[in-house]
């Protein structure tokens, strides 16, 4: 037998090392295969551990966020407990005086601003905007203070521009829409829209002419519904027949694309106004003979005159506005037809109702009143004039109670065309007995006020975000909020009161004499202060 040393080197690999090292192992190939499994297992094990750690990290993150939330909750609760503020002074203020009327410009037409409900006065971009016919053109002027006026800028000189009552306008934010009829001249109307700018200029689209079924006679109205569709109503004539036509211009495709919604026969020329409510469009119209007639309310596709108020009204000297799903009307009223004088009455109508509200007499004195209704904050203002006198009254409770009439002017001449539609307390009219007639203006905004002194006794500033003025006699509520677009909000209210200090604030609101008011102020942390106050007699 050969010894190991005697074997060829190639055969030395067959020697079993374990036998050489007394039982210890191992051959190289086995060791290599075992390591692969171990490495894979180790990697997967590490992955599991990492997964566990990531979950723990996530859980810790969630808990940490929750803990932060708890701390914030505790801080908010603590701040609520330490918040202390009160109304340290309050006074109900009446208008010391109405701004003295100013002359906007002149016109050769006595009906330059007629008629009352057609929309000639607007407030936008910090400026008053008054539209009127100068006798040849429809023009506008602007003023920042209601006293000094810019030069006239032309809107249109299309046929019909010589008549103030052939022009109607409607404001939606900083956009103004207008319609111009061409009395008896053509089966068409003109319309356009533009944007108010703070420089007192309106950037208009090129005026668009649209065909109608019959000759447009005199009167027209324009409005925009909540979907952005533009609506117009026109008084039309064909031979001896008189019609009202209603057209709609769909949002997004509006231009000459007007859809004829309705065309119905009426007894004679009818003045009209289209009003956009939150429930839909309403048409209010009345025949325009020189005496009082029945006023009608209907929908664009509704029957002829389904609803009328109890009294007869001279519609040319009356006006209506909408708020929510309700329209509010004020006009020259009489208990019988054929009258040229009467009292000033008010009523409302809610979309879908079978009848109007009961009428409220705003001024029982009989005269040939030219009446226009407007809304200031949560209140309605009725302006009315006759001869040399122009008056106004307010209501803060949707027309249930009206203030005693106050005087704007007693030195006018043959007042006509009183118009204040949606004008924030501004009113325009024409004064004069012969050409040139004066286009006049006065404003009354922020005349009625609630003056508050709010004392902050907290060791930090408080942020006041809401104020409620609740008339406990009538359940009428006026809500001023940090968000003026909130439901039912009539004005903006936001006040920071530094720690330990008092701040004065003025709330523009028309209040009623000898009423109980509950005033509540809320902070952004939900702390409330409430107290009862009685307005002076």
């Amino acid at each position: 037998m050969k010894s190991h040393e005697e074997l060829p080197s190639s055969r030395k690999a067959t020697v079993i090392p374990s036998l050489q090292r007394g039982g210890r192992r191992r051959k190289f190939p086995k060791k290599s295969r075992s390591s692969v499994s171990t490495v894979i297992a180790t990697i997967l094990f590490i992955a599991i551990i990492l997964s566990a750690f990531s979950v723990m990290w996530l859980v810790f993150g969630y808990y940490n966020n929750y803990n932060m939330q708890l701390i914030q909750y505790d801080e908010q609760t603590m701040q609520q407990k330490e918040t202390s503020f009160s109304i340290s002074g309050l006074s109900f203020k009446t208008p010391s005086s109405y701004s003295a009327p100013s002359t906007v410009g002149t016109s050769t037409s006595q009906l330059a601003t007629s008629y009352s409900h057609q929309g000639k006065v607007f407030y936008a971009q910090g400026l008053w905007w008054v539209f009127y016919s100068d006798g040849s053109n429809i023009v506008y002027r602007t003023s920042s203070n209601g006293q000094t006026w810019s030069a006239a800028k032309m809107v249109t000189n299309s046929p019909g521009s010589a008549y103030g009552y052939a022009f109607s306008a409607y404001q939606l934010g900083n956009t103004i829409y207008y319609v111009l009829g061409s009395p008896d001249s053509a089966k068409q109307f003109h319309w356009g829209y533009g944007t108010f700018s703070s420089s007192g200029v309106i950037s208009w689209i090129p005026e668009i002419t649209v065909g109608t079924s019959y000759f447009v006679n005199y009167y027209d109205s324009i409005t925009v519904d909540s979907s952005g569709n533009v609506w117009t109503a026109l008084d039309e004539i064909q031979g001896s027949n008189h019609y009202i036509q209603i057209l709609e211009c769909p949002y997004g495709t509006c231009g000459t694309n007007w859809i004829k919604v309705n065309l119905f026969n009426v007894g004679s020329d009818s003045d009209l106004v289209l009003l956009a409510t939150t429930s839909g469009i309403l048409l209010v119209y009345g025949q325009t003979s020189s005496s009082t007639q029945q006023v009608c309310i209907t929908t664009p596709t509704g029957a002829n005159c389904p609803v009328s108020p109890p009294s007869y009204y001279y519609f040319l000297y009356s006006s209506a506005i909408s708020n929510g799903s309700t329209i509010y009307f004020a006009g020259l009223a009489s208990s019988s037809t054929g009258q040229t004088t009467g009292a000033v009455k008010f009523w409302s109508y809610t979309y879908g109702a079978g009848s109007t509200s009961s009428e409220k007499t705003v001024d029982p004195n009989t005269a040939t009143w030219v009446v226009s209704i407007s809304q200031v904050s949560n209140s309605f203002v009725v302006f009315y004039g006759s001869g040399a006198n122009l008056y106004y009254v307010y209501s803060t409770d949707s027309g249930l109670l009206w203030t005693q009439r106050a005087t704007i002017s007693t030195s006018e001449t043959a007042i006509s065309g009183v118009t204040a539609l949606n004008s924030e307390g501004g009113v325009a009219w024409v004064s004069g007995s012969g050409s040139p007639y004066n286009v006049r203006f006065a404003s009354a905004s922020v005349s009625w006020q609630l003056s508050l002194a709010i004392q902050n006794s907290s060791p930090f500033a408080v942020h006041l975000v809401s104020l409620y003025l609740y008339d406990t006699n009538t359940d009428a509520l006026a809500h001023f909020d940090v968000n003026p677009q909130g439901p039912g909000v009539v004005g903006q209210f936001e006040l920071w009161v530094p720690a330990g200090e008092a701040i004065n604030s003025t709330i523009p609101i028309v209040w009623i004499h000898s009423q109980n008011y509950l005033i509540t102020i809320a902070t952004d942390e939900g702390v409330l202060f409430s107290n009862n106050y009685v307005s002076p007699p």
Binding site: F45, V55, V482, L528
Partner: protein, 162 residues
């Protein structure tokens, strides 16, 4: 020292043995990978489930903490066609509130005047307010308790005299 005899048959036997070991090792690797992958999947699922459940639990609690409502004003309509009350509710938190129910109790009589479920719930964005209208017949001079409940279980109670 034992010397393995050099024989041709031995060489063939050694080759067969090497193939078996490779196959065995591969099987071992496959088994290990399969087991560990299963373990990893199970553990990931379990950990994920724990994380999700905890997230939901904490999230709900956080939202409930962040949703804070306060009643600022209650007005009554004791006459007319819309009898009831308007409740002005503000979300003073940082999470949108969803008002789901309102309970009105006649405190003077100790009776439930009306329970009112809002469907869909009234949504209030943080910092904003909404008016919650409740239809019932309030009696002038009577004290009513209004309990406003949110979907997350928060509630606020306020007493008002009609």
């Amino acid at each position: 020292m034992r010397i393995i005899p050099f024989q041709s048959g031995r060489v063939r036997a050694s080759k067969n043995s090497a193939v078996s070991e490779i196959v065995g090792s591969l099987i071992m690797i496959v088994v290990v990978v399969a087991l560990m992958t299963t373990l990893l999947t199970v553990s990931n699922t379990a950990f994920g489930s724990i994380a999700t459940n905890f997230s939901n639990l904490i999230g709900t609690q956080q939202n409930a903490l962040s949703e804070r409502i306060v009643v600022e004003q209650v007005t009554f309509n004791e006459t007319g066609s819309k009898l009831g009350a308007n409740i002005y509710v503000r979300d003073i938190g940082t999470y949108p509130a969803s008002i789901s129910s309102v309970y009105v109790t006649n405190v003077s009589a100790g009776t439930l005047a009306v329970s009112y479920n809002l469907n869909p719930p009234k949504q209030i964005s943080p910092g904003q307010f909404q008016i919650v209208a409740v239809a019932f017949t309030p009696n002038s001079g009577t004290t009513y308790s209004f309990t406003i409940v949110t979907q997350l279980g928060n509630e606020v109670v306020v007493n008002e005299v009609a």
